[in-house]
Symmetry: C2
C-alpha cells in the first residue's frame, strides 16, 4: 500500500472516531420493579418510560425493564439500585419504612393529602427537596413515579357499624394503615397476593384492602365480599423511580433531561390509566354484581382511626427528627391546600351531584 | 500542495459531512401563544416545554416562544400555525368555536368533566381521536397543553339569591358560559383584560369571571367585590398545543418523541403550578381580606343554568353532526366517570372535612 493512502486511511479513521456517533457512548440501563411485568397500571409507568427514553434518544439510551418474576426481589429494589445491580428501579417509597421511617411521606399516609395536594407539595411546597435529603444516605435519587389516586378502604364480608365490629376482625392491610387498625383491635395479617382470594373466600380473613377497581377487578374480591369501603388510608399512593446517583451523574446532560421528562410524562400517564381503568372496572363490577354496597366507615369509627393515626405519627416524630420535619411540612401544606381543594374540585362534584337530585 | 495531501483533505471533508453531526439538521421552530410572556402559569407550559426540548435534543431542536406582546394576534394562533408563520402554538381550543363549534369540547364546557375525567376521556375514552379528526381540516395536530382545574364562578359585588338577581346584571363572562347567562337575562359584555379592574370598580360591570386564585390575585378583584362564587362553567379548562402537521411530519422520529414528551410533562407541570399557585393565593387573599365570602349559586339558579346549557348543546347538536358526535361521547363518558370520581376523590375530601366538625 502506498504511504499516502495509509496516511489517508488513518486520518479518515481518526475523523470518524471523533465524530458524534462514536463520541456519544450508547447507554444501556437495567430497571427492576417491585411489580410483575403484567401488573398494570403500576408496571405501565416504567414500561412506557423506557419506551419514551429509547425513542427520544434515537436508540442511544435504552432501559431494560425487569419485573419481579425475573429478579425475585420485589422488596429489594432500593438495595439493588443502591448496590448498582440495577441502574434504576420502580417501586413505592413506603416499602422502605423499615430502613427510614420518613420515607412513608413520599408515598402516602392515612388521612394525608390527595394527589393534587401532594404533587403541589412535591413541586411547590418543598417536598422534592425533603425527598432528596431523605434518600441521600442511600446514594440514590428519588422521583415521583405515578399515582393511584384515592385507594378504596377494602372489601368486607360484613358491614362495619361500630368500633365493636372491628374487634377481632381478621384483615389483610399492610403498612401504617395496618398499625392504625391494630390499635383498634383488628387482627391484622399479611398474606401473599396469590392467596388472598382463597383466604377471603374460606374465611381465613374477613376483609382485605387492595387498590381500587382497576386493579381489584382482576382479583375477583367483588364476587365474594359485598361491602366496598371508601378510602382513608392511602389517599394518593405515589409510586417511585429510584435512580443510582453515581450512574445518573455520569449521564450526558441530554440523557438526564430525557430521563426526567420520560419519568414525569409516564407518571402522569399512569395516574390517568389507573383512573380510566377504575372508571371502566367500577362500571362493570356494579352492573355484574348489583349487590355491591359502597360504604363509608361510620364517623365514630373514622374518628377513632384518625386519632390512632395522629398518635402513631406523634410517637414516631418524638423519636425521629427527620420524620418530625417531613410530618410538619406535610401537615402545614395539607391544611392550606385542603381549603382550595374543597372550594374547587370538591365543590364542583358536590354541586353537580346536587343538581341530579 | 502535494496531491496526496489534497486527496486526504478531500476525503476527510467527505467523512465529516457524512457524519451524524452534519447529517442531523438542526431544527429551529417558533411558537406563538395566546398569552403574554408573563401570564403564568398559562405561559409556563410552552416556556418549560421549549426548555425541555432544547435540553433533551442537546440543542439540536430549539423552539423560540413568542407571547402576544410580540405577535399582537392573541386569537390568531390557529391561523398562524395553519399558515406556517409559526410551527407551533399554545392557546385554548374553545377560542376556535367561531370556525368549528365542536372545538369547545377539547377545552371545557359548562357542567362538563373535571380534569381527571377529561384526561381519562382524552387518553382512554376516544377523546384524542375525536380531537385529531376535528382539527384535521385545519391541517394541524392538537395536543393537551395544561389544565386550570375547576375555575371559579367569578367575583360579584352583590350576593345572588335568586334568578331575579341575575336579570340585568352586567357581567363580563365570555364563551358558552356567557351564552348560558344571557339566556337567564344577564347583560353579558366583553371587556379587555386591562380594563376589567376599573370597570368593576366604577360599576360599569357588576361581576366578572377570570380564572382562579392563582391568576385572579394579580388582577386585584378581591379588593372590590366580596362574593367569590364557586365554579360551574369551566370545570377543567384544557390549554392546547397546536402543531403545523406538515412541519411535524418532517421532524425526525426522535424529535417527534421529544416534542410529545415535553408537551405532556409541561402540561402536567402547568396543572400543578396553577393548583399550588391557587393554594397560596387563596390563603393570602383570605387572610388579607377576611370579608371575602365563598358562595355557591343557589340550587334553583344552578338548575336554570344547567337547563339553559343543555338547551344550548342540544340546539348546536341539531345542526352540527360533529358537535353531536363529540357531545354524545363526552356525555356518556362523564356519566360513567363521575360515579368513580364521587366514590374516590370526592368522598375522601367529604370524609376528611366531616372529621373536622
Amino acid at each position: 500500500m502506498k504511504s499516502s493512502i495509509k496516511v489517508l486511511l488513518f486520518v479518515t479513521m481518526l475523523t470518524l472516531l471523533a465524530s458524534p456517533a462514536f463520541a456519544a457512548k450508547k447507554v444501556r440501563w437495567k430497571l427492576a420493579m417491585t411489580w410483575s411485568s403484567t401488573l398494570t397500571p403500576f408496571a405501565s409507568a416504567p414500561i412506557k418510560m423506557a419506551k419514551m427514553v429509547e425513542e427520544m434518544s434515537g436508540g442511544d439510551f435504552t432501559i431494560r425493564v425487569e419485573g419481579s418474576e425475573k429478579h425475585k426481589a420485589a422488596l429489594g429494589i432500593l438495595d439493588m439500585v443502591k448496590g448498582g445491580q440495577y441502574d434504576i428501579g420502580h417501586s413505592a417509597s413506603y416499602y422502605w419504612k423499615g430502613k427510614e421511617m420518613s420515607t412513608v411521606f413520599f408515598c402516602t399516609v392515612p388521612f394525608g393529602m390527595n394527589a393534587d395536594e401532594q404533587y403541589a407539595w412535591f413541586y411547590y411546597g418543598g417536598g422534592m427537596e425533603l425527598m432528596e435529603e431523605t434518600f441521600a444516605k442511600f446514594k440514590v435519587l428519588s422521583f415521583p413515579g405515578g399515582n393511584s389516586g384515592v385507594q378504596m378502604g377494602g372489601w368486607f364480608k360484613k358491614e362495619i357499624n361500630s368500633l365493636a365490629d372491628l374487634k377481632g376482625l381478621k384483615m389483610r392491610i399492610p403498612g401504617l394503615a395496618g398499625e392504625v387498625f391494630a390499635k383498634l383491635g383488628v387482627n391484622v395479617t399479611n398474606i401473599a397476593p396469590g392467596e388472598l382470594y382463597t383466604s377471603l373466600d374460606r374465611g381465613t380473613i374477613d376483609a382485605l384492602e387492595w387498590v381500587g377497581p382497576a386493579m381489584d377487578i382482576k382479583m375477583g374480591f367483588h364476587k365474594i365480599a359485598p361491602y366496598y369501603y371508601t378510602g382513608w388510608h392511602e389517599p394518593a399512593t405515589e409510586l417511585q423511580f429510584i435512580v443510582n446517583k453515581r450512574k445518573y451523574d455520569r449521564l450526558p446532560d441530554n440523557f438526564k433531561a430525557i430521563l426526567k421528562a420520560a419519568m414525569k410524562a409516564s407518571s402522569m400517564d399512569m395516574y390517568i390509566e389507573n383512573f380510566a381503568g377504575s372508571v371502566d372496572a367500577w362500571s362493570k363490577m356494579k352492573s355484574e354484581y348489583p349487590n355491591i354496597k359502597v360504604k363509608q366507615f361510620p364517623l365514630p369509627v373514622l374518628k377513632a382511626m384518625k386519632k390512632a393515626a395522629d398518635e402513631l405519627y406523634n410517637s414516631y416524630a418524638a423519636k425521629d427528627a427527620n420524620f418530625k420535619k417531613v410530618l410538619e411540612s406535610q401537615r402545614a401544606y395539607q391544611k392550606k391546600a385542603r381549603e382550595w381543594s374543597t372550594i374547587s374540585e370538591y365543590n364542583y362534584i358536590k354541586m353537580s351531584n346536587e343538581l341530579k337530585q
